[in-house]
């Protein structure tokens, strides 16, 4: 694992993207086994086998051999922000050495799976004792997971593309799907062998939020915009690729997880026969209208769907692009041509679970603005603008696919709890809980929000929290209800999970309302009204 540890140290001591790509490229070109290269790639891309050992056990063994009491280990962990790092730091220095490769270590870790705690304890203590500081951290990290080292998938793929002598788009295609290190060969990555997996999806083409300069450009185009752009609803569901190949159906989520079993609707024979790949949005569709995201949420995260639920919350795919037709990759065709194929195939398949995302009529940009404002009534959260000439790109690429979302809901709420973050944000209060007033004058918490403050504001809020702490509960503290923030969120629905009876989607801090005293924050009643207004 020495070359891997060295790579990690090097990556960890630079913020330069170019330098990271250079380091990764050199590593993948280096004289290490192909197995290790694939393992490295798998780790950086988050393809980690499930955790073989409970972290509570790791803590207690580390406490035992270091003589650090568990409570102190916990407190220390809060300050360090990463469990693997904490354990690596408190363990006594190693007495032994090892030359196992990364793949061998992964094998050792895998062998611990399902063993009894005593066996695991003996092994892990022995392993810790033969690793240096960085290796120990990495080894423990391989067990605890969440391997984030400031290296994005895109960065790894860029380096691999350099090594393979191809471009990023091509490398993304080679690395889609939910492969594991064992399933993927270095030859396939290098383009020296075909990937035999017929379930493999294409990399999703991701839209950019419409920015002001593009908006102005489109306004200026006037009626000519129609020649260059088409518009559709931005559906409020989950994005998916529906793949039909060799009489088999596969459904992939945007996170490249296979979700075929969660949506048995699509496992019908009428969808097989012609090999195709569709890109679209899964939504609940009931009583001839789209359901909201809250309904879809009930269907998510299940392995098996009870038939009652299938009946009550039937889903369909609203198709908005086609990537493969009759077995051929047609992503290079201009959007308008793909649209023709898309219409054709949806008509041919004639499935109740498949719908075509309609094109919106417009003469110029201002027409679209009016339609966008009405999006919620159609079960959409805004518009998508597609450039007619554009191919289907891989990943995030500016200029041909714009998402123009509705303005979020906003509400003014009072901060009542603060929690210390983890990792980079350890020891910084970065997670806050917000409340609104009920009709008895009580503050009722309804959501947490993390992001949205500038560094300077964050510092200021942290100073406030430290000076106004009322009580501590571990990493959480309650603070004097004084600061008011404008929160933005995308959706709102009933919930039985918290006191307020309300759950909001993607909450974040929009503004610090320094002008508002706490008693002028919004009320629970306001939130309820917001929820009813949105229904249709």
């Amino acid at each position: 694992m020495k070359p891997f540890a060295q790579l990690f140290r090097n990556l960890d001591s630079t913020n330069s993207t170019q330098e990271k790509i250079r380091l990764l490229t050199a590593y993948f070109q280096d004289d290490i086994s192909e197995e290790d290269k694939v393992s490295t790639l798998a780790l950086f891309m988050g393809r980690r086998p499930p955790r073989p050992v409970k972290t509570s056990l790791l803590r207690s063994w580390a406490s035992e051999i270091s003589g650090v009491p568990l409570w102190l280990l916990e407190e220390n962990y809060h300050i360090v922000g990463d469990l693997a790092e904490t354990l690596a730091l408190i363990l006594p220095p190693p007495q032994d050495k090892s030359d196992y490769t990364l793949s061998q270590w992964l094998q050792h870790i895998n062998n611990l799976r399902g063993q009894d705690a005593e066996y695991q304890r003996e092994k892990i203590i022995a392993y810790w004792n033969m690793l240096d500081a960085t290796e120990r951290f990495l080894f423990t990290k391989l067990i605890t997971g969440g391997f984030r080292v400031g290296v994005s998938d895109k960065l790894v793929m860029t380096a691999l593309a350099h090594v393979a002598g191809t471009d990023l788009q091509d490398m993304m295609l080679r690395l889609t799907g939910n492969w594991t290190a064992q399933e993927l060969s270095w030859q396939v990555i290098m383009g020296q062998a075909e990937n035999a997996d017929i379930s493999r999806p294409y990399p999703f083409y991701l839209g950019y939020p419409l920015d002001e300069s593009t908006e102005n450009e489109l306004i200026v185009q006037g009626e000519q915009m129609v020649e260059h752009y088409q518009a559709e609803w931005k559906w409020d569901g989950i994005r998916a690729q529906l793949i039909s190949r060799n009489q088999n159906i596969y459904l992939w989520s945007r996170g490249e997880e296979i979700i075929t079993e969660a949506f048995p609707e699509f496992g019908t024979p009428e969808l097989t026969g012609i090999d195709f790949v569709l890109d679209g949005e899964i939504i609940v569709y009931k009583d001839d209208k789209p359901g909201d995201f809250g309904m879809l949420q009930k269907r998510l995260g299940r392995k098996k769907v009870p038939s009652k639920m299938l009946k009550e919350l039937p889903c369909r795919l609203v198709g908005y692009d086609i990537l493969e037709y009759m077995g051929s990759d047609i992503r290079h065709l201009p959007w308008t041509e793909r649209r023709t194929y898309l219409e054709q195939i949806i008509q041919d398949l004639a499935s109740p679970h498949l719908a075509l995302s309609p094109l919106l009529e417009f003469r110029h940009f201002e027409d679209l603005r009016i339609q966008r404002d009405a999006a919620r009534q159609f079960g959409a959260e805004g518009l998508m603008l597609k450039r007619s000439e554009a191919p289907y790109y891989a990943g995030r690429k500016r200029g041909s696919l714009w998402k123009w979302k509705l303005d979020p809901f906003t509400i003014d709420a009072v901060m009542i709890y603060a929690q210390r973050g983890h990792g980079r944000r350890a020891n910084l209060y970065s997670d806050f809980t917000f409340a609104v007033w009920d009709n008895q004058g009580q503050l009722i918490p309804f959501t947490k929000a993390y992001s949205g403050l500038s560094d300077a504001e964050m510092k200021e809020v942290n100073t406030f929290v430290r000076k106004n702490t009322l009580a501590n509960f571990g990493p959480v503290c309650s603070v004097t209800p004084q600061l008011v923030f404008e929160l933005a969120f995308e959706g709102i629905q009933l919930s039985t999970r918290n006191k307020s009876g309300i759950a909001v989607r993607f909450p974040r801090i929009k503004n610090w309302r320094r002008d508002k005293p706490a008693d002028q924050a919004n009320t629970l009643e306001d939130l309820h009204q917001m929820m009813h207004k949105k229904e249709f």
Partner: protein, 341 residues
Amino acid sequence: MGLITSTEKGLYCAQGDFYIDPWKPVPRALITHAHADHAVYGHQQYISTQDSVAILKYRLGNHIQITGYPYRNTFTIKGVTISFHPAGHIFGSAQVKLVYRGEIWVFSGDYKTEDDTISAPLEIVPCHTFISECTFGLPSFRWQPQRVIFDEINAWWLDNKRSGKTSILCVYALGKAQRIARYLDTDTGDIYTHGAIQNTHDVLHACGLKLPKTRKPDNRQHQDTFRGSMVLAVPSAQGSSWMKKFPNPEIAVVSGWMAMRGARRRRGIEKGFVLSDHADWQGLTDTIKQTGAEQIYVTHGYTHLFSRWLTEQGYKAGIMETLYQDEPEQHDDPLVEVEES
């Protein structure tokens, strides 16, 4: 009644009517070392080690009224017998020992256990009550021998030189700068210093401290002449125009905080070397044990955790509130403030 209590102005010995490292102006102050949060401006009378006098005058002005005593020499104020003992923190740094009617109290100031060959090495002073700093009082802080770190730094420098880069180390003007300068491999190249560092070097050089040849960059010097050299900069110089004159820079920070990835990354620091002038967990716990003290007070650092741990070990432990950066991590710029402590 104890010999040292915490007051609004600083740690105070009522029996002798003097303060130790007070943070507000007082008539008479014992000073453990010259770092800014321990030696503030405005006392009527300063009393320190002989080795600290020059640097205190440099920092606070030549006019201050100051008396210096050699290490271990005793003197008496109103029946309290006082002596300074090496703390190993920086050049001239000391612990303060107070003896009154058979009762012995020691205030550690800041200290480290490893001999850096610049400060007089830490002396264990047996006492009844020991007031200890605990800046790095967490078991996750474990220093490697300084030799290992200096080898890393020298290898880094050489590596940068080979790729035509300038190496810049952000260090504290008093303490870390001398410690590092002393061990830099001068065969690799020239060493340039920030003004604040060079001045401190000059003062300590006059006190007899041996340091390699360093100099301030000359404004007339061509950029390329800095390539491959080492620059010792103060942390506040980061991003300044002074720093911009060095071509192709590789910047690293040398600090005990660099042991934690989160602490380093939170400040946007790319490269860190783990080296501190404070004791690590082992150093703190060993020292406390060796003093034989039954009563321990802890000052700045993770005081709550550390005193709880000491209590569990059977000590009579408590926290003595000071303004020497308690909870260092929560300060706006702990790197600057804490390392200076």
